[in-house]
């Protein structure tokens, strides 16, 4: 599948995968993530059941302490 991840094109062999799988595959190791799929918020507890597929627009933001 071809998707847009953080405004950049990305290609995966799989036809689809869960948000949780995508985070593992891309090695997003930061603890505090905000995730969005096609303009909608995906909460942490839903990442294992939300599927990403061809043409999706995916955002993964990581946040760290300090301010």
């Amino acid at each position: 599948m071809n998707i847009t991840l953080n405004n950049r094109p990305e290609t995966f062999e799989e036809e689809s995968m869960t948000f949780e799988e995508l985070i593992k595959r891309k090695n997003f190791t930061f603890k505090m993530l905000v995730t969005k799929l096609n303009g909608k918020l995906v909460r942490k507890e839903d990442r294992h059941k939300v599927y990403i597929k061809e043409g999706d627009d995916v955002t993964v933001m990581h946040l760290i302490s300090g301010g």
Partner: protein, 200 residues
């Protein structure tokens, strides 16, 4: 646009400041100096002497509520700025009610957990309101690693994205000030109608 035209345009604008520590206090002062009409300041904390290495407060204000001390400092710069001071530890419901009607919201919390909370709340419940975040500004040097990005619609992130605070990497006035003023610059840009990535 000249300075007076910018001031006139900003005089009708409302900006919410979520957290009045290192990022929030400095960002709010920059926005007040250029004539932002209405600032909504929210924080639950009081000024501590340890805050003075980076936050826009003075020694005589220690022990005072941050929102009231900041309102006082802003009014010493320009008494025309309308200020709503909200003494609250912000949760999702407060964010929606306190910042309803804001043209832009500035995320100026210290904890990553709080940053996530406001980002999720704004994305889910106030998707039309731009949120300008601060992310990664501890330590010293590495000025050129600090920048601004727009990872998704209506979310702007200022900082280096990697320098998390720790015992050995404290938040200090120079880098915190760079990011706070970068947030203010991003707010100004948005209020002037520039939201495309190549204008950031």
């Amino acid at each position: 646009m000249n300075a007076e035209e910018i001031r006139k345009l900003l005089s009708n604008k409302t900006v919410g400041i979520a957290g009045c520590g290192g990022l929030g206090s400095n960002c709010a002062v920059a926005l007040a100096r250029i004539g932002t009409g209405h600032l909504i300041l929210a924080d639950f904390d009081t000024v501590d002497v340890s805050n003075l290495n980076r936050q826009y407060f003075f020694k005589h204000q220690t022990g005072k509520k941050k929102v009231l001390a900041l309102a006082e400092n802003i009014h010493s710069i320009d008494e025309r700025i309308k200020i709503t001071a909200v003494d609250v530890k912000l949760g999702p419901a407060d964010i929606v009610s306190v910042f309803a009607g804001c043209d832009v919201i500035v995320e100026a919390f210290d904890l990553a957990e709080m940053k996530r909370m406001i980002a999720e709340t704004v994305i889910a419940e106030m998707p039309g309101t731009p949120l300008v975040m601060g992310n990664g500004m501890a330590g010293w040097g590495k000025s050129n690693t600090i920048g601004v990005e727009k990872p998704t619609e209506n979310i702007y992130v200022c900082g280096d994205g990697t320098s998390e605070i720790s015992e050995e990497l404290p938040p200090l006035a120079p880098r915190v000030g760079i990011v706070a003023n970068m947030q203010a610059n991003t707010v100004l840009n948005i209020l002037l109608g520039n939201t495309k990535e190549d204008t950031l």
